[in-house]
């Protein structure tokens, strides 16, 4: 299970790579934000509360103070009050629906003395603590389906409240707890099924119904062949079948392909009944049935359930050829253009024309990564991604080195949250992920976001320090 012991000198104190990468990201983030909002007037903007960078700097100061404060608090505080904090998070999410201010169509913010506070960010931390506490309890076993349901509900409630704001992006972040659940031992069958179904949906949207059906049938055949005999000959046969059906399908023999694949499936089924592998057969048939069902309803629900702006986002991601370059595709084109124009070395700090001239939408918040891509080029992009990887890797190491489940799960929760934000956010700026409005951790403008990430990581570092004593 564990990854191995860290070297002895590191275990004596703080985890230097984790701290370094964390603070490097904070500094790069602040500089990028400065660059994105810089309009040539100079450094004094930083000290003015009327500018975005000025306000962000105040938040950053507050975050650093909190960071230090947390390092002085005993980590047990967080396990003791995990549910209280979770309750507070839920309370705030309810309150914001009633008392919050609406910005750009979402009621996600409290406005306190000119600073806005976003409860959904806080609830990520609260939920992470609560889940860790739940799964860390000796009476709870995630392999028990009832207990797993409780954990899912704890994640589902805040996600649902955030959906009501509505803020689909932040709500989606809660799916990152699936990583924590997986580490805690959740049944991998769920994950395989989930992945298969998501693949079904994506293929259905990109290629349409019949290629996706062929895909599902092929996967089912592959699974059956694997069950019957997992040796290399069967694998080769399977690839032959897959290749043949692809070729036939491409050349227009659609219905014959379906019939042949169907016959193969029937043949295998008979064989499996003879071999008395009925239970596995039922499972695979159910899998195929659900796949077919999902494939069939994907396009229908895309057109009838999703709102036009949500359809647009999916289209921009998966079917850009359906989109207007000047319309829904505009933002992503500008974003890719900014990053692409950076080349290898970038245009240089404060010299990014696209970001300087406001071509990139939301360039301070969700699209802050464009500034890095444009001004620092591939080197900057590579560097930032590597820094996040180092941080994640060190967190996983810390998690594996603790003996306490609460701490381990909390750390995996944080890693999942950070990973989800980073992958979706950066992926979205380059067009490989749908445009979901979530910030890039430690970099995007947004006071609550940076404060909460500081808190999360401070708690995590504090928990790690505990080992030393």
């Amino acid at each position: 299970m564990s990854i191995g012991k860290r070297t002895s000198q590191l275990s004596r104190g703080i985890d230097i790579p984790a701290y370094l990468s964390f603070f490097a990201l904070v500094i790069i983030g602040w500089l990028s934000l400065f660059a994105a909002s810089y309009n040539g007037t100079g450094i004094q903007e930083v000290f003015s509360l009327s500018t975005e960078i000025g306000r962000q700097t105040v938040w950053l100061g507050l975050s650093i103070v909190s960071f230090i404060a947390i390092l002085t608090i005993d980590w047990k505080f967080w396990s003791t009050f995990a549910y209280v904090i979770y309750g507070l998070g839920i309370f705030l999410l309810l309150a914001v629906l009633i008392f919050g201010v609406e910005i750009k169509g979402s009621t996600s913010w409290f406005n306190i003395a000119g600073f806005s506070f976003q409860p959904s960010e806080f609830s990520k931390l609260a939920t992470c603590l609560a889940i860790a506490s739940l799964l860390g309890s000796t009476q709870i076993n995630i392999k028990n389906n009832r207990h797993f349901s409780i954990a899912l509900a704890m994640v589902g409630v805040p996600a649902f409240l955030i959906m009501l704001q509505p803020d689909a992006g932040s709500a989606l972040v809660f799916s990152s707890f699936l990583i924590l659940f997986y580490r805690a031992g959740a049944n991998s069958l769920f994950y395989i099924l989930g992945l298969a179904f998501i693949t079904n949906v994506i293929l259905g949207l990109v290629f349409g119904v019949s290629p996706t059906l062929i895909f599902s049938m092929l996967v089912t055949i592959g699974v059956i062949m694997f069950i019957i005999n997992s040796d290399i000959r069967f694998l080769a046969n399977f690839f032959l079948i897959a290749l043949a059906s692809f070729v036939f399908y491409r050349f227009g023999y659609k219905i014959p392909t379906f019939i042949v694949l169907g016959l193969i499936l029937v043949g295998f089924s008979i064989y499996m009944i003879r071999e008395n592998k009925i239970q596995q057969l039922i499972l695979t048939v159910v899998f195929l049935a659900i796949s077919v069902f999902i494939t069939m309803i994907t396009n229908w629900s895309f057109n009838n359930v999703l709102k036009p702006h949500q359809q647009d986002r999916i289209n921009v991601w998966l079917r850009p050829d359906l989109c207007e370059p000047r319309g829904s595709l505009y933002n992503i084109i500008q974003s890719k253009t900014a990053i692409g124009s950076g080349g290898f070395w970038g245009t240089g700090f404060l010299k990014g024309a696209m970001t300087k001239l406001d071509f990139v939408p939301e360039q301070n918040t969700d699209f802050i990564f464009c500034t890095i891509g444009e001004e620092h080029g591939f080197l900057g992009v590579f560097g930032v991604i590597v820094l996040f990887m180092i941080l994640l890797y060190r967190i996983v190491l810390m998690a594996e080195n603790t003996r306490l489940d609460f701490i381990r799960y909390y750390m995996y929760g944080v890693a999942g949250i950070i990973f989800f934000h980073v992958f979706i956010n950066i992926g979205m700026t380059m067009g490989i992920m749908p445009v979901v409005g979530i910030p890039l951790p430690l970099m995007s403008k947004g006071g609550t976001s940076i404060l909460v990430f500081f808190l999360m990581i401070a708690i995590l570092f504090k928990m790690d320090l505990k080992r030393v004593r």
């Binding site: 299970m1 890719k336 990053i339 024309a353 992926g427």
Partner: protein, 613 residues
């Protein structure tokens, strides 16, 4: 593999995916770099000022006047703006406002964040009012551009007008024009388009996402200044042009005057004329153009170069010169005229006049019989049965006189006129067993029949006689206001029509007497010896055309002129006094008391209804 490793693998693979994608768009695809440049680097065209056109005395004939285009950025428009005030200031209807601002946003032509033209060609006086209030209307910007303007109401045909460049020209000259540019469509504006238009400049600027200029690119090192168009000095005498247009009011026809020594065109009047300001590129232009185009008098037709008229009796001096040069007849030969000319079955009426004992008397009184005789002898120079050879000889001379082909003046459209060739008559009389004879076509001897000349050709004939057989191709432009540019050498070389100088004296004497006691007494200019010839060209469709051509003074010709009045009757009654007044105006710079009555008479004549524009 443990789950912690699987999770790490997920992180690692995801990071690789992101890095690979970044490498693709940053390192392997230069599409984005170019896109970024297009996004931020903008080339602004600087329009050159168009060349100004002057007359021979440096009077401005055309200059440039600023007009304003109002552009708008839709997203910046205040939804609560005072539309009523806005429309009042710009003098437009609220409907127009709505129509102009709500574009088809699905079309790639328009974008809510990019400026587009809201209202084009706003007049300076309207704009001045609007400018005071423009701060109230965020999102609206003004761009200045220039249009042609005229400090007078004259010379419209000759100057020509501008219009938007058409697709064909655009396709051929992609590096010069873009859609919506203006180009000379007629007259001097068209002929001298290349000289007048100048060269566009370009300014490389950095723009922000709203298309607003932030700064110039590379400190303007790549910028090119616009090269203004070259000013043109024409040979036109504006005072004469204006006076001629005044005299031609209420008439249809044309006047062309040439300085014989240089071939410079002094005036080119096509009547009825119109105010060139009407076809200015402001918002009323379309309507005015349609009305001019559709009006019964064909006002847009430039009659000086496009209308082809039978010359009538002014052809007689030319025929005489050719006959003398060929030795077919001499100036002192007399021809009896019993009041008609009779030859076999041909009989043509003449009028009552003294016996034409020489060519001078025949010209003075415009005896038809004399010239029927002369044309017959000319055509039959190689025998009665070979009139084609005689005609070919005649045509060769006429070609040298600049007839039957475009003169080559600097006008974009010029008619060739028409002179009948032997082949033409062979076709026409193809059914005649023995072919056609000189008697069939004798009416060309008095400038009738199939002969057709443009007014500028007629004026040039007067100049040829004034120069005693020499001429320079008539032209409008005298020089350029640019030391490096010279006018076309063909407007400097002297042409010879192949008539010996000695043959001119008797003809000129006869033409002088036309004014002394002949048919053209109304063309007299006080104190100046003038040679002229009237013509009345028969018009089967209506009233005869009245024509006169002349030059003066005889000893030192300063002006050669042709006046053609459509459907006016005798040449002596209409064309002659107008030609006289024009010559007097040009030579004396004013009209004497003695001639005032003529002026009043001419001005009072209304032959057509003026179009109401």
């Amino acid at each position: 593999m443990g789950r912690s490793r699987q999770i790490l693998l997920l992180f690692f693979v995801s990071a690789l995916v992101l890095i690979a994608k970044a490498a693709q768009i940053q390192l392997f695809d230069d599409k984005y770099e170019k896109l970024a440049q297009r996004n931020t680097l903008d080339q602004h065209t600087i329009y050159p000022t168009r060349g100004i056109i002057y007359d021979r005395n440096n009077e401005v004939l055309v200059y440039n006047k600023p007009v304003y285009d109002i552009d708008v950025i839709y997203n910046q428009v205040d939804k609560k703006m005072d539309t009523t005030l806005f429309c009042q200031l710009l003098e437009i209807e609220v409907d127009v406002f709505k129509k102009n601002i709500e574009k088809n946003w699905a079309s790639p032509k328009y974008h809510k964040s990019i400026p587009f033209t809201f209202l084009a060609k706003v007049k300076p006086e309207v704009f001045a009012k609007f400018q005071e209030h423009i701060y109230r209307f965020p999102g609206f910007l003004a761009n200045v551009r220039s249009i042609r303007s005229y400090p007078h109401q004259n010379a419209a045909h000759l100057l020509g007008y501008l219009g938007e460049v058409d697709q064909i020209t655009l396709n051929k000259n992609k590096e010069i024009y873009v859609g919506g540019d203006y180009i000379g469509k007629s007259g001097l504006e068209k002929k001298y388009e290349e000289t007048l238009r100048g060269k566009k400049g370009v300014r490389h600027v950095i723009t922000d996402n709203l298309g607003r200029v932030v700064e110039s690119f590379n400190k303007g090192e790549l910028d090119q200044k616009a090269k203004p168009g070259i000013n043109i000095i024409t040979g036109i005498d504006f005072e004469l042009q204006k006076y001629g247009e005044e005299l031609m009011q209420g008439k249809r026809g044309s006047i062309v005057a040439i300085e014989p020594a240089t071939g410079e065109i002094l005036c080119a009047i096509s009547a009825p004329g119109y105010d060139p300001n009407l076809l200015n590129l402001d918002e009323d232009r379309g309507k005015a153009f349609d009305e001019l185009r559709d009006d019964v008098n064909k006002t847009l037709l430039d009659r000086t170069v496009l209308a082809k008229y039978p010359p009538g009796s002014i052809f007689k001096p030319i025929l005489s010169l050719i006959a003398f040069q060929e030795g077919i007849t001499g100036p002192y030969r007399g021809v009896s005229c019993p009041g008609y000319y009779e030859y076999n079955t041909f009989r043509y009426k003449c009028h009552d006049h003294p016996y034409p004992s020489n060519v001078g008397i025949a010209l003075t009184h415009s005896c038809n019989s004399y010239f029927f005789d002369m044309i017959r002898k000319t055509l039959e120079v190689n025998g009665y049965n070979k009139p084609g050879e005689g005609l070919q000889m005649l045509d060769n001379y006429l070609n040298k006189f600049g007839l039957g082909q475009a003169l080559g003046i600097d006008h974009p459209t010029e008619s060739a006129g028409f002179i009948p060739t032997p082949a033409f008559y062979n076709r026409m009389y193809a059914n005649e067993v023995n072919g056609w004879k000189s008697t069939y076509v004798m009416s060309i001897g008095i400038g009738q029949g199939e002969l057709e000349l443009t007014t500028v050709q007629m004026a040039n004939l007067a100049a040829i006689i004034a120069n005693k057989g020499k001429y320079i191709t008539p032209h409008l432009v005298k020089s350029y206001n640019d030391p490096g540019m010279n006018i076309d050498p063909k407007y400097q070389s002297v042409k010879d029509v192949g008539i010996d100088e000695e043959h001119f004296a008797p003809v000129i004497r006869g033409m002088e007497n036309v004014l002394n006691w002949g048919t053209g007494t109304k063309a007299r200019v006080p104190g100046v010896r003038v040679a002229g010839k009237t013509g009345t060209s028969e018009n089967p469709h209506g009233e005869d055309h009245s024509v006169f051509f002349a030059f003066a003074p005889i000893d030192d010709p300063k002006i050669a002129i042709a006046v053609y009045i459509e459907n006016a009757g005798f040449g002596s009654d209409f064309a002659a006094p107008i030609a006289g007044l024009m010559m007097e105006k040009y030579i004396h710079k004013k009209i004497s008391e003695k001639s005032k009555y003529k002026e009043e008479q001419v001005l009072s004549i209304q032959l057509i209804e003026e179009p109401e524009i």
